[in-house]
């Protein structure tokens, strides 16, 4: 069991190797191999940890490893008096952590393999740097997952934020990428501020930051059913942190911009792992949340609104990665709805399945973009079904899972959430069901635009035709706002073949382009592995209504010490018939969405255009993401800059003026001192000397050298003596 320490340490070692040595001395193959190897080993250890955890009885499925003290005892004040605050590096593995470990290392490993092929065009040092960052990210994510107390989790939290910044801005010479990285970090920071305040408040209230001790202590307290007490304050602050990390309203604005990063980064960080850290943190703090029903409602409402809003935006986006980004935001909203309903294991279940199919979708998208030489605009794709069959099939599986079609995994997890929503709050159920419709719609819109229909991409021609090359180049400069995530749009468009380009060169010297095609083995194998996961992962959560055992809920139950809060599905659940009816309804909704999308985009492509013309205002609003970014810019960003400018000028005018005034004052005082010293002090000294000198001139005249003068003085003294004698009598 001690080996679980190696799970985060292996990627850390990989990052160190690649970062310190690899950037200078490793070749691409060595860097990629090192990175994938450590991930594979970590994955193996995770499986081993999971298995050993299964071997234990359910009550004993917790294992702590304390690595030593971080902060030795510091006396700090809490609500109950002075407590010695100490925090140690504690790693804790329990069912929740074990499942997350599997997700992070498993999906992470596959994405690493994918990335070895995807990033092939990077220069050698950039390649090593990429894998260093990727491994570093995995290390921090694993630290976050394995954390035993809030403080260690915060370390991992901050670390993944840092790596997100590094990876989003990986092509840092590109302005849009650098800005996106900055935006992600800053918005994350706002969330972290809330999280940190929550941690402080946790300590202040409970005197400890350890998850288990906090859970034990809070179990003795009654839930705050009325009003807003300290537990609610803690939970709302923690939720603010989760909002930042998991891109909920209003801190969701960074995630679409984060698509500037390479596609493996989008897949790993912004689909499968980092953005789920918020959900994980809420799940970990479930003991606190169940005692604050008001905050749980807020969580659910925010999640539902986010899900709906993001889905509406995704309807009209044309950048393929942006659609998936908003889709991620939407699905994270689902997870928070589940958490808000008290169904934490349902949220985690959806987290797992979402990781699989979203990663699959992103990687597939990456393959498409790679094949299209950096083109990300769906309006310029189409008909790729014939060119990239493997990608098509795997992505179709992912899209179906996303839409919630059985027996794929997405159906089971989404259905679980809808079930709990139905039981808890009908309005929220309505919103989430509407979102399901929209989800299915936009996913199949994506599939239709990308894989079906006519090929609308750039023209492929030989190098000898300058007109075609010019036309191709004109295509390239036409859409500057499309994020060229590849950074290689400068490549001439006729060089779209991978690998075997040179084998193609005909004897006459001209290259014959072959159009978009399937990626190399690494890419396709990763896609296929993830597809398997998509298919299979759902079966761990088959609900009891249709004969399953809901294994995941039972497995995760010990991690969520739910006591007082009634969970939908345990006692007050629907009957078997009701559950099945609900499931069929959601399947119908999904199917409706799929068919509508097919109608709009495959059969009658002019329908969406007509609709956009009929409601231009709505269309523009959705396309510009409800103008939220612009709102933030005008208010918060401008306000902060103005405050900064004000502070600067205050510092310059007032503070520096005060300092300068001090300097001037000192100078004036010094001048006074100087004058005083020169005239008064030196004057006195000179006076003494002058007096002595001048006086001596007078006294010297007594020394005449004439004896009789001296005799005269003697007689004078005698006379004085006599005078005194005379008058004293």
């Amino acid at each position: 069991m001690k080996l679980i320490l190696f799970i985060p340490l292996l990627p850390a070692a990989g990052a160190a190797l690649n970062g310190l040595i690899g950037v200078r001395w490793f070749g691409r193959r060595v860097s990629g191999f090192v990175a994938c190897a450590v991930m594979a080993l970590a994955c193996g250890l995770s499986i081993g940890a999971f298995a050993s955890l299964l071997a234990l009885p359910p009550e004993a499925r917790v294992h702590d490893i304390v690595l030593g003290h971080w902060i030795p005892a510091i006396p700090l004040e809490t609500a109950t008096g002075i407590v010695m605050f100490s925090a140690s590096w504690t790693a804790r593995i329990d069912p929740l952590a074990a499942i997350m470990l599997l997700v992070v290392t498993g999906v992470g490993f596959l994405i690493h393999v994918y990335a070895t092929a995807y990033m092939k065009d990077e220069p050698r040092s950039g390649y090593a740097r990429f894998f260093c960052y990727l491994n570093l990210f995995c290390f921090f994510m694993l630290v976050l997952v394995l954390a035993g107390n809030f403080l260690v989790m915060f370390v991992g939290w901050e670390g993944v934020g840092l790596c997100s910044y590094l990876l989003i801005g990986f092509w840092h010479e590109k302005h849009s990428a650098a800005n996106a990285g900055k935006k992600a970090f800053l918005v994350n920071r706002i969330g972290d501020w809330g999280f940190l305040l929550g941690i402080f408040l946790v300590f202040f209230t409970f005197g400890t930051l350890d998850f288990r001790e906090v859970a034990l202590t809070v179990g003795t307290m009654s839930p705050e059913t009325t009003g807003f007490g300290v537990l609610s304050a803690i939970c709302i602050l923690l939720f603010v942190g989760a909002t930042g990390k998991s891109a909920q309203i209003p801190l969701h604005v960074w995630l679409p911009d984060a698509m500037e990063g390479p596609t493996p980064v989008s897949a790993l960080i912004h689909a499968a792992t980092m953005v789920t850290a918020g959900v994980y943190m809420v799940a970990r703090s479930s003991a606190l949340f169940v005692h604050a029903p008001l905050v749980m409602e807020i969580v659910a409402i925010v999640g539902a609104l986010t899900a709906l809003m993001a889905a509406t935006i995704a309807l009209v986006q044309t950048d393929i990665k942006r659609v998936l980004a908003y889709s991620t935001v939407s699905q994270l909203g689902y997870m928070f709805v589940a958490a808000g309903m008290g169904a934490f294991s349902a949220a985690v279940f959806h987290l797992v399945t979402h990781a699989f199919f979203k990663a699959l979708l992103f990687l597939g998208t990456g393959a498409v973009i790679h094949a299209m030489a950096g083109e990300q605009d769906m309006l310029r794709m189409g008909g790729l079904r014939k060119h990239m069959p493997v990608t098509f099939v795997t992505m179709m599986l992912g899209a179906l899972a996303m839409a919630g079609i059985p027996p794929l995994s997405g159906f089971f997890s989404k259905d679980e959430i809808l079930y709990h929503a139905f039981l808890g709050n009908r309005i929220l159920w309505g919103i989430t069901t509407a979102t399901t419709l929209l989800t299915a719609f936009y996913m199949f819109r994506l599939m239709s635009l990308t894989f079906y229909g006519k090929y609308r991409g750039p023209v492929y021609s030989a190098i000898a035709s300058p007109a075609a090359a010019a036309q191709a180049a004109a295509h390239g400069v036409d859409h500057p706002h499309d994020a060229r995530a590849h950074g290689e749009a400068h490549r001439p468009l006729h060089e779209v073949t991978h690998g075997g380009a040179d084998a193609d060169v005909p004897p006459d010297g001209s290259r014959r382009a072959r159009g978009p095609q399937e990626g190399p083995a690494a890419i396709t194998v990763a896609l296929m592995a993830l597809a398997v996961g998509v298919i299979v992962a759902g079966f761990m959560g088959v609900p009891q209504a249709i004969g399953g055992t809901n294994a995941i809920e039972r497995f995760l139950a010990p991690s969520f010490g739910l006591g007082a809060f009634p969970v939908g599905g345990a006692g007050v659940g629907l009957s078997r018939g009701g559950s099945i009816a609900l499931m069929l309804f959601s399947i119908l909704v999904s199917a409706a969405g799929i068919l509508t999308a097919r109608h709009f985009y495959t059969r009658n492509p002019e329908v969406p255009r007509r609709l956009a013309a009929r409601w231009p205002a709505a269309h523009t609003l959705l396309q510009n993401k409800y103008y939220l970014d612009e709102l933030y810019l005008a208010t918060i960003v401008r306000g902060t800059m103005a405050a900064a400018r004000g502070s600067f000028s205050f510092d310059r005018r007032v503070v520096d003026a005060a300092v300068n005034a001090f300097g001037w004052g000192t100078q004036i005082a010094a001048w006074f001192s100087h004058m005083f010293d020169k005239h008064v002090v030196d004057g006195i000294v000179n006076l003494a000397g002058g007096t002595a000198g001048r006086g001596s001139f007078l006294v010297r005249r007594l020394q005449t050298g004439l004896i009789q003068n001296y005799a005269l003085i003697i007689v004078l003294g005698l006379f004085a003596f006599l005078t005194v004698f005379l008058f004293a009598r």
Partner: protein, 170 residues
């Protein structure tokens, strides 16, 4: 009556000769006036019932010292010195004034003391039956023997010194 007349005469002579000593131009005149002064002083001593002292005065002072001065004056044989520039810093006038004041003060003190005599204990005289000479002799050889011997030493030294100083360079 007689006593006061004699006293005043003698006092006038003493003062007069003294002034003449101090103011005479010719050194020889000074010496002669000095001798006259000494003789008058001797007569004062007689008035004061100090006959031995008067004798000593005449013998030693008027007889010895005056002759000595005369010898030296003659030896020096000083012509009228050339009119040397009187040093400007001499302050002679100031000296005169000062001496006058001094005299006035001393007189004032004496008169004042005379008018108010202090209780000076009158020592019981131990006059032996003999005259003044015998008295002094007794004192000199008994109570004041040591000073007497020392004085003789002094005279010896002075004699030797005077001889050494006065002899010609060999």
């Amino acid at each position: 009556m007689l006593e006061s007349l004699v006293f005043y005469t003698l006092a006038a002579f003493i003062i007069g000769f003294g002034v003449l000593v101090v103011t005479a131009r010719n050194p020889v005149h000074c010496v002669l006036f000095l001798a006259a002064n000494f003789l008058c002083v001797a007569m004062i001593y007689v008035l004061l019932a100090a006959e031995f002292l008067a004798m000593i005065q005449i013998l030693v002072y008027a007889g010895g010292i005056v002759v000595l001065y005369l010898f030296v004056v003659m030896l020096v044989n000083l012509r009228r010195p050339p009119d040397a520039q009187v040093d400007g810093r001499r302050q002679a006038l100031f000296g005169f004034v000062l001496v006058a004041l001094l005299l006035a003060e001393m007189s004032a003190i004496l008169v004042y003391s005379g008018a108010h005599p202090s209780n000076v204990a009158a020592v019981v005289p131990q006059f032996p039956s003999g005259g003044n000479t015998e008295t002094i002799g007794m004192l000199l050889y008994t109570d004041y023997l040591v000073p007497f011997e020392l004085a003789s030493m002094l005279l010896l030294v002075a004699m030797v010194g005077a001889i050494v100083l006065a002899r010609k360079e060999a």
